[in-house]
């Protein structure tokens, strides 16, 4: 079927261009929903009462409840609100540090010859090393700095994981800005710093937002460093939810609600930053 429709699109006259490919919609739609079944299933379970959950996954006749969302947000005395807060602080902290470090230094690397190829090559090369390589050294380092089980330790670890991504995306962005713009600012007597912060950075806003969004997502989703560096106070939602599920007597409704809630921020951000996903994923810290 697809053979015929594509060929006719290329060869026959105009009206056929407008023919809708509903068959493609059906197949792609089924695949798209199929791979999201884990999430959709959790969404469904999160609205069932514990009784209805116990009656089996195929019981579709149930009275929806928001009880589990109330529980996940604090009503049942779980630590989930604190996990959410930790995840937010860790992700925001990492975003800020990544930008503070990568924006000026990448500009210096691209325009002022700072570090030469070393910075780009190291950034690209770090993508290759498994995060686990840094697990033991980071544990020892944070232990020496007396930062184990603190939010700053996880902010620093996630800054490290996402810094290469920031440098790679920003260097592409800086290169796209015509040098003439900066030269004009210099001629007008602006210093390098003023040129960077009041001329170049505003022009680069979309790339900076993309770096921020991707660093937020990857930091929010981190599990390995949380497992290594956090034990209770600094636990983010990924670790908290995974620990909850391995403990005995699982409250599936509550854990589903917490899981659904905690997947929302990265997914919403990702939709927002869709067009940067490819370079983000090629250069970023995909670990799992």
């Amino acid at each position: 079927m697809t053979t015929r429709s594509t060929r006719s699109m290329a060869t026959s006259s105009r009206p056929s261009h407008k023919r809708k490919l509903w068959g493609t919609s059906l197949v792609v739609g089924l695949i798209a929903i199929g791979i999201n079944v884990p999430w959709l299933n959790a969404l469904l379970v999160s609205f069932k009462t514990e009784g209805d959950i116990g009656r089996g996954a195929l019981s579709t006749n149930f009275a929806p409840t928001v009880e589990h969302y109330k529980n996940a947000l604090g009503a049942a005395g779980y630590d989930f609100p604190r996990f959410f807060l930790n995840s937010t602080l860790i992700a925001l902290g990492a975003v800020i540090l990544v930008l503070v470090i990568s924006v000026p230094s990448t500009y210096a690397a691209v325009r002022l010859g700072f570090g030469g190829r070393l910075i780009m090559n190291t950034s690209s090369g770090l993508r290759l090393l498994p995060a686990i390589f840094f697990a033991v050294p980071y544990f020892l380092l944070m232990s020496n700095l007396h930062l184990l089980d603190t939010v700053p330790a996880l902010i620093l670890a996630n800054t490290f994981l996402n810094l290469p991504l920031g440098i790679i995306l920003l260097s592409a962005g800086f290169r796209d800005i015509p040098v003439e713009v900066e030269e004009a600012a210099w001629v007008d007597g602006a210093s390098t710093y003023r040129t960077l912060f009041s001329v170049v950075v505003p022009m680069l806003a979309p790339t900076i937002v993309a770096v921020a969004v991707l660093a937020f997502i990857f930091s929010w989703n981190d599990y390995l460093f949380a497992l290594v560096l956090a034990s209770s106070n600094a636990t983010p939602i990924t670790l908290g939810a995974a620990n909850f599920v391995t403990s005995t007597g699982i409250r599936w409704g509550d854990i589903s609600a917490a899981t659904v809630l905690s997947t929302l921020p990265p997914v919403l951000f990702a939709i927002f930053a869709q067009r940067y996903l490819v370079s983000g994923l090629s250069s970023g810290a995909v670990k799992g």
Partner: protein, 293 residues
């Protein structure tokens, strides 16, 4: 540029670069050095000062059946999922690479699995596969199949299927982005020539797409080799050590057995094996600046 601004730029580059130098010194250089250094010491979780052990950790590592099994499982698993996910990702990209109703929403939906935290996906998989209340066992039951999903015989195929659900969107996205830069007139010319769809793919699209397919395979493979989150949440490497990846082996060696030196040796070996691949990656990232516009 005037002479003055050149001199200003010379000092500015060090001022602007200072945060990166500072951060890299403490949080990149020190950990890399310490990671390698630890592998030569008999360091454990319990004692902070340890004697120099020379190559003993490396000897222990290569005589450890757990390490060799983990390496074997990781390589087999990574090659299997990468092959399947590249083929499926390519097929899906070819399918989506046209205009059809609902494309935008379905495209977004296809990318959701990449963005869900793998650890949380692991939790959702546990819910989905739970013997008492899970959807998958219930459906299998309904059609008369009684499969113990987490039994030693079925656990690896199960993990492969789950990985395909999770990461085919990744290979799809990389390949789809590549197709966008594919010249449509070549495709149309091939079709007007009367080349069938299969021939269009094998003799026109595949050759041009080679670099993109290579990138998808390469990126997916290095991620698959470090697999940790989903498998750790689902099986913790078990039953026994059957599904222990290298990352899980290193984590357990360090933080469950407390043998930091041995774990560091394992990490260093992986790094040495992967190091020769870095130039490939540098080239790839330097070339790939095109976003999915």
């Amino acid at each position: 540029m005037s002479v003055q601004s050149k001199a200003g730029a010379r000092s500015a580059k060090w001022v602007l670069g200072a945060p990166l130098i500072l951060f890299s010194a403490v949080f990149v250089a020190v950990p890399v050095f310490q990671g390698i250094q630890t592998s030569f010491y008999a360091l454990t979780l319990q004692q902070s000062s340890a004697p120099f052990a020379g190559l003993q950790n490396y000897r222990d590592l290569f005589s450890s059946p757990d390490f060799l099994n983990a390496a074997k499982f990781t390589i087999g698993f990574a090659l299997t999922v990468t092959t399947i996910e590249t083929i499926l990702g390519f097929a899906l990209a070819m399918l989506v690479n046209r205009t059809f109703p609902g494309k935008k929403i379905f495209f977004t939906l296809l990318l959701v699995p990449i963005m869900v935290a793998p650890a949380l996906l692991g939790v959702m998989f546990r819910l989905l596969l739970n013997g008492d209340i899970g959807l998958v066992p219930a459906l299998l039951d309904k059609v008369g199949l009684h499969i113990a999903l987490f039994a030693p015989d079925s656990i690896i195929p199960l993990l492969v299927v789950l990985d395909i659900m999770q990461w085919t969107p990744f290979t799809f996205l990389i390949i789809y982005a590549g197709l966008q830069s594919f010249p449509t007139d070549v495709l149309e010319a091939a079709q007007i020539d009367g080349a069938g769809r299969v021939r269009t793919i094998t003799s026109v699209i595949l050759p041009i797409m080679k670099p993109i397919l290579f990138a998808a395979v390469f990126l997916r493979l290095i991620d698959a080799i470090r697999t940790f989150d989903v498998i750790y949440v689902l099986t913790a490497g078990g039953p026994g050590t059957k599904t222990t990846t290298l990352s899980i082996f290193i984590y357990k060696t360090a933080f469950e057995s407390g043998e930091f030196g041995l774990a560091a040796a394992g990490s260093t070996v992986i790094m040495i094996v992967l190091l020769p691949l870095i130039p490939l990656l540098v080239k790839r990232i330097a070339r790939q600046q095109g976003d999915l516009a």
